[in-house]
């Protein structure tokens, strides 16, 4: 059995990890130079409660279940996950009716830890909330995580268990024979395939077309963000939503797992041709600022660390497409809009257990020696000083700080490269080096130097994140 998973975002990574529990050959094809750089890289990082998805939707089927899987998953894969809780805040009397509706909907979706807080209780949970807030729906089980870290962890664990990762390998075509999957063609070669899992994010519609089952289209919907410095830690303790509109969950104020505060996202539909457009806009950033200030008046833009944008992969139905197709062996994991991050652990199991085994009757036997654990790169944030001292004794590189803002040592950078980072952003997303308030002012060139040394390539060949994202032009003097 040869299974090809297209895309190493949160969806593809968790599917690949589920598959690696069984005796089959698993390949992950990812066109980017690293894991989790599609939709998974830029989102709100919230593990939603799962109460607001329409009860009949595919989203509802997986969101609350996915949320519950996060405790175990975060332990096995050793990534940050905190159940900080979420609030949907009402400003008007009629909003309260909506909160009641949401609570009912939550019940139908199997979310039973919802309560409506009155103003005084709300102030206790969130002292900086606007005085105009009158009530809120509180969901204790909502959490926050680091999405790309989840994807990286899942892939590392899958690879540990035998899966094969192909980076910078783009799927160009899929061949079928007698309505069955037969070959996957990439920029690097051709592979015989029995099963193809289409988890290509924004491009899943194009992949489906290659297999001849392209009956849906994906539209990008942009969301812009402003990230604020850790100095504002405690500005909010929970994920704070306004009462949502039909179109989106609204602009939120969210604590990040490393202590920062995230404002956003807005929502703007873009034409299909703009799936690469990750630029922020003046109007978007202004909207994010104004609306987050309405929730939390103390929001302060002078603490901005950076701004960025993400693209949601939307379909007309506004729902996930997770199903087998008329081409045997070709499975869609498409239209994975929000809450895809939340739902992924659940639908990954569904794809492998229900679709492949039950529906397609593929006989997969469990590996006896599957190792569910993966360890993160050790950082001083996570270990005691004593443990750190031991590490330094073993390897002095643990005592050499490279990123001063986030205290990342040279040993961690080297470890990130050993685990597959090839670019400056690769190191950044794995270690948080240059993610801090100076945004790489002190460390980016040192990291370039270390990558160059470890990979034995000239510094000019180290890239920011993609083939043409060169950093240095060449030598000043020979």
């Amino acid at each position: 059995m040869k299974v090809f998973v297209i895309g190493a975002g949160i969806s593809g990574s968790l599917v690949a990890r589920e598959l690696s529990k069984y005796d089959c050959e698993v390949h992950v094809l990812e066109k980017a130079p690293d894991i989790g750089w599609g939709v998974t890289k830029a989102n709100s990082a919230i593990v939603h409660g799962g109460y607001d998805d329409p009860p009949q939707s595919v989203r509802a089927k997986f969101a609350a279940k996915g949320n519950r899987l996060y405790d175990e998953l975060s332990k096995e894969l050793d990534f940050d996950f905190e159940r900080v809780g979420s609030l949907v805040v009402a400003f008007k009397e009629e909003d309260i009716n909506y909160l009641k509706e949401l609570k009912e909907r939550g019940k139908k979706n199997g979310v039973d830890d919802l309560e409506i807080l009155e103003k005084s209780e709300l102030k206790k949970v969130e002292p900086n909330i606007s005085d105009e807030a009158i009530a809120a729906l509180y969901c204790k089980s909502a959490g926050i995580t680091e999405p790309w870290e989840v994807a990286i962890a899942a892939i590392e664990n899958a690879v540990e268990n035998g899966a094969i990762l192909h980076l910078e390998e783009e799927v160009l075509d899929i061949q079928t024979k007698n309505q069955k999957v037969s070959k996957v063609i990439t920029n690097k070669g051709e592979y015989e395939a029995d099963v193809v899992i289409n988890a290509a994010g924004l491009f899943a519609d194009e992949i489906a077309k290659m297999a001849g089952v392209g009956d849906f289209e994906i539209f990008p919907r942009k969301g812009e963000y402003i990230l604020l410095d850790k100095k504002l830690k405690g500005l909010v303790n929970t994920v704070v939503f306004p009462t949502p509109t039909k179109k989106s969950k609204g602009i939120l104020v969210v604590p990040t797992v490393d202590g920062g505060i995230l404002l956003g996202p807005n929502a703007k539909d873009l034409p299909k041709s703009m799936k690469y457009d990750l630029g922020t806009t003046p109007e978007g950033l202004q909207e994010v600022y104004e609306k987050s200030k309405r929730l939390i008046p103390k929001v302060e833009l002078s603490y901005t660390v950076k701004t960025f944008a993400g693209l949601r992969p939307e379909t007309k139905e506004k729902d996930f497409i997770i199903s087998a197709t008329k081409v045997w062996g070709f499975v869609n994991v498409a239209g994975i809009r929000s809450p895809g991050l939340t739902a992924a652990p659940s639908f990954a199991k569904y794809v492998v257990e229900d679709i492949l085994q039950d529906q397609l009757k593929i006989n997969l036997s469990k590996k006896k020696d599957f190792n569910p654990y993966r360890k993160r790169i050790t950082n001083i944030r996570d270990v005691s000083l004593k443990e750190w001292e031991e590490l330094v004794k073993k390897d002095p590189k643990y005592g050499r700080t490279v990123c001063f803002c986030n205290n990342v040592s040279e040993a961690e950078i080297v470890e990130a490269i050993r685990r597959g980072a090839r670019t400056l952003d690769g190191v950044k997303f794995r270690t948080r080096a240059s993610f801090g308030r100076c945004q790489g002012g002190f460390c980016s060139l040192k990291i370039v130097e270390i990558i160059s040394r470890e990979l034995n390539i000239p510094m000019e060949e180290v890239k920011l994140n993609s083939k043409n994202s060169w950093i240095m032009d060449g030598k000043v003097r020979a």
Partner: protein, 408 residues
């Protein structure tokens, strides 16, 4: 975990920290200077242009030359590089550090904070557009060229006309890059006039005042930026947009004092963005002294050097058991006073004071509580610090309002 007792511990080995180490050791205190980088010197390392040390050494030196002079003055071996200070504990007076020797906890009697500043990254300005390769702070570009021997690109626009931006414009031009120009959002250049002349005019590099970058474009590497003229409120004026094709953007949009280690327990000045200090360079915590760009951003290394010496000397006196005088006077910011230090003083000794006006004025006076202290017959500007020696404090109340106003 090892413990080490010292008299004076200096955190940060730039010009301020080195100067503090010189005077602390001269005062007879057992001193250790911790530097988190591979080598001391701070920004001096990367500044191979000259213009350092005119006041201190009466010579124009390059940054590294100035640094070497400081090393020569340092008689004792007190420097420890590759040491990162992780935490300063105010109640137990412990300083926890990480180095290749593991975790070392210092127990100093006095401490000098001389951690300098970091550059403000462009990302923090919320300029809309793509996040692509080819955007560097001036410091990164400077290190790339001067330390790593690599060029950041082929064609560059500089954002910000502070001294560092101006110096980088010249450097990159000399090294063969096409320097399209410098944009400055304010109506006046942000750096010293001598640098505008020597770095731009002498090299025919245009300076666009009242202009800013409003958008950034590119797929993977930067391909173009859009600039526009701004009105008095620094808002872009519609219709004035201009597309500039460049593969590199070098930004010099400000320095931010680094005080993360102490800002939670030391009184901070919101304008300087550094600790409030007195004429002994003592902070609100009696055993912690501070000097250099972490106290406030300084124009010249000479000022930083002087401050470091004062801080080091008094930290040593304090550490060796002397009781320093109490603060008696306080300066309060009045009209047109931005960065200002010290904010407090004891009245026991003459001291140097630094003030940055908030606006440019043709002819002006400096007043202490309505008394004229100094007249300026030249144009003063925010980019150039006013420095003066304060000697006479007789007849002043304990609170002195400082004001810079038009001479009329």
């Amino acid at each position: 975990m090892r413990r080490e007792k010292v008299d004076v511990l200096i955190v940060g080995g730039g010009a301020a920290g080195l100067a503090a180490a010189i005077s602390a050791t001269e005062s007879g205190a057992k001193t250790v200077l911790l530097e988190r980088d591979r080598s001391t010197g701070g920004v001096l390392n990367q500044c191979i242009h000259n213009g350092f040390g005119l006041h201190v050494f009466k010579e124009e030196l390059t940054g590294p030359e100035f640094m070497e002079r400081l090393w020569e003055e340092l008689k004792e071996d007190v420097i420890r590089s590759n040491f990162t200070v992780l935490e300063i504990k105010p109640d137990t007076r412990e300083v926890i550090t990480l180095s290749e020797d593991g975790i070392i906890v210092f127990e100093p009697k006095a401490l000098v904070m001389s951690t300098g500043a970091r550059e403000r990254p462009l990302n923090s300005l919320r300029i809309p557009g793509s996040r692509v390769a080819g955007i560097y702070t001036a410091g990164v570009a400077q290190k790339m060229v001067n330390i790593y021997n690599r060029l950041p690109g082929k064609k560059v626009l500089i954002v910000g006309s502070g001294d560092i931006g101006l110096i980088m414009a010249r450097r990159l031009k000399i090294e063969g890059m096409d320097v399209v120009g410098v944009v400055e959002i304010m109506p006046e250049p942000g750096g010293l006039i001598r640098n505008v002349v020597q770095c731009l005019e002498d090299f025919n590099i245009p300076l666009w005042l009242s202009h800013t970058v409003i958008e950034i474009h590119g797929k993977e590497r930067l391909s173009e930026v859009v600039i526009a003229k701004v009105d008095e409120n620094r808002k872009p004026i519609a219709g004035t947009e201009k597309v500039i094709k460049v593969d590199t953007l070098v930004t010099s949009v400000g320095l931010i004092p680094q005080n993360e280690l102490i800002e939670n327990f030391v009184e901070m000045d919101p304008i300087n963005r550094g600790p409030v200090v007195d004429d002994y360079m003592r902070t609100s915590v009696e055993w912690i002294f501070a000097a250099g760009n972490n106290v406030a951003i300084h124009d010249l290394v000479d000022f930083v050097y002087d401050e470091g010496k004062i801080a080091g000397m008094h930290a040593a006196r304090y550490a060796l058991g002397e009781k320093l005088p109490e603060v008696k006077y306080e300066f309060v910011r009045g009209k047109n006073v931005g960065v200002m230090l010290p904010q407090k003083f004891t009245g026991t000794q003459p001291f140097k004071m630094y003030i940055r006006p908030t606006k440019s004025l043709e002819k002006s006076v400096l007043k202490f509580s309505d008394k004229i202290i100094r007249k300026f017959n030249w144009r003063i500007r925010p980019s150039e610090m006013i420095d003066l020696v304060v000697k006479n404090f007789e007849g002043f109340d304990s609170k002195i309002t400082v004001e810079v106003s038009n001479l009329d």
